[in-house]
């Protein structure tokens, strides 16, 4: 087999030259295409940032590059009433939500990955089914429950509290990750006299760090990006708005001032992109592990 696959040892010089030329041409074609694609992906960011630095009057023109660089636009955005509150609310929603999700999802994922019990496949199927459902399916009774029975509309609690009870997508992703850890580790811990909880905390968790990081990132981004949740529960009280929800009101308050709206847009995008640069590996791993975003 290897003899068949091996190339003839002697290739004539002109043949080698044409081969090399073909390779070079291919390299050029591929990288030209790569640059074109990169422009498609990057130019929207560039135009948004450029417009965010234009003066009010220039933002109304068809110009693409600012004449004067108005860094004060960003200051104006921060001075907008409520903007800092939205930041704080978003951090609370995303931060607290992420911690609660991880803490409540890890034991469930561990049981689904490593325990043998009747109904395990059924439980896994239910997890996958609920993970694929949009929040709108059960929002009417949930809203009535939170708003009419517990009187919690106008706050973010209806969005944060459920995260203490496991999140289907996080459970699924963690379960996929824990499946890749050999059972021998669990068995060895048992032989050493570790209980189930000790085994999970001392042996499995340190090995599952990349999976937990991926789940935490996804959950943080989901809360950061959420529009529907705050729209349902927080809309009546601007003091409870998040950045994603408040951003839209910018367009209203500043009407045609695209420069300030784009500066606010940059400020909503930037943290997510910064977090990504610090945690790129965990994130991409999460995407390939499950193939989906929550």
């Amino acid at each position: 087999m290897t003899q068949v696959l091996a190339r003839p040892a002697e290739v004539s010089a002109p043949e080698r030259r044409t081969a090399r030329r073909k390779e070079l041409l291919q390299w050029i074609a591929v990288h030209c295409l790569g640059v074109a694609a990169a422009l498609f992906f990057v130019l929207p960011f560039v135009f948004v940032v450029l417009t965010s630095l234009m003066s009010d009057s220039q933002a109304l023109s068809r110009d693409l590059v600012p004449h004067t660089w108005e860094w004060g636009n960003y200051r104006k955005v921060f001075d907008t009433p409520g903007f800092l509150t939205w930041w704080r609310n978003t951090l609370v929603y995303a931060g607290l939500g992420t911690v609660l999700t991880v803490v409540s999802s890890v034991p469930v994922a561990y049981a689904l990955a490593k325990f043998r019990f009747r109904g395990r496949n059924l439980a896994l199927m239910l997890v996958i089914s609920t993970m694929m459902l949009p929040p709108q399916v059960v929002v009417i009774p949930m809203y009535l429950f939170w708003a009419k029975q517990l009187d919690l509309s106008g706050t973010l609690w209806p969005l944060i509290v459920p995260m203490a009870f496991g999140d289907a997508f996080s459970i699924f992703l963690l379960r996929q990750f824990l499946m890749t850890i050999p059972d021998e580790y669990v068995d060895a811990a048992k032989v050493d006299g570790c209980g189930d909880l000790r085994t999970l905390v001392r042996v499995i968790l340190p090995m599952a760090k990349p999976g937990i990081a991926a789940v935490a990132l996804f959950q943080f981004f989901n809360a950061w990006n959420d529009y529907f949740g705050p729209q349902i529960y927080a809309s009546e009280n601007p003091g409870a708005w998040t950045l994603s929800y408040g951003l839209e009101s910018f367009k209203g308050a500043h009407h045609t001032d695209w420069n300030l709206t784009m500066a606010a847009t940059v400020l909503v995008m930037a943290p997510v992109i910064l977090v990504f640069f610090f945690a790129q590996k965990a994130f991409v791993e999460g995407v390939t592990l499950t193939g989906v975003k929550g």
Binding site: W27, P107, F115, F117, V137, I140, Y143, F145, V284
Partner: protein, 315 residues
Amino acid sequence: MSTLTSASRRRRAALRTLAFLSPWLIGFAVFFAYPLISTVYFSFMHYDGFRPPTWSGGKNWAYVFEHYPLFWPALRNTLWLVVVTVTLRVLFGLGVGMLITRIRTGTGIFRTLFYLPYLAPPVAATMAFAFLLNPGTGPVNSLLGRTGLPAPGWFGDPDWSKPALTLLALWGIGDLMVIFMAALLDVPAEQYEAAELDGASAWQRFRYVTLPNISPIVMFAVVTGVIQTMQYYTEPLIAGKVASGVIQGAGAQFEPGYPDRSTLTLPQLVYNLGFQRFDYGSACVVALVLFALSMAFTATLMRRRGGLVQAGERS
């Protein structure tokens, strides 16, 4: 060992399993099973949130399917998005994935640049595109104008609003790119070498080596794309709101779908019926339609996922 101890041990194991699963069991019951049953119940009730609910039989169902003016446009839009947007996203994702596996210089930089737009928060990304594509002063139409090409109305034109949303969806191709990239790198190199020895052309290598190897992933991308289309909410809503000029909190109520119901999707109907028209019963009918459609496609996916695992074991 006596049977008694083995029975008690089994009971302990069951309790342990229950304890570990308890967060999800409670969450599933309280935040999914109970509200789902409740949704079915309310779909047969007349309820406006103020007066107590009263039995209304099939009236809500008849209303949604026969008289609610937004239902069929939303379903038609969903079909359009499934046929055009999902198809284009899968083709584009595969294309970008193939491109990134062939790039030899600066691979890391290219991959990051291609991936970044996927991370942009949906509201921010939609605001950005509403600006980029705004017909008056947007950079895209400015550039099109300079080259003498026709400048469409994008989010302001019912014929162009869905193509504009498609453009936004193609910009955020990062998720599919990563999945296809992983699948393409998994194709055994020997198969390509063998095909090359047989004198196969580039197209033949793609058709007879690449495609059969990655077909489960293509299928996966199509089905998740359809499921995501069912849930499509923030982007079409924000695009419609910004283009229409109606803004939250200004007193004026925004009827979703601007322009001309061309950006309506099913989840927006739940909001419109429940939180703008205070017709909770009819909102629950749409919620159940959404549930049935999502479950049908998820079932397809799970059957495929089983097949996928088997295929992986065989090779």
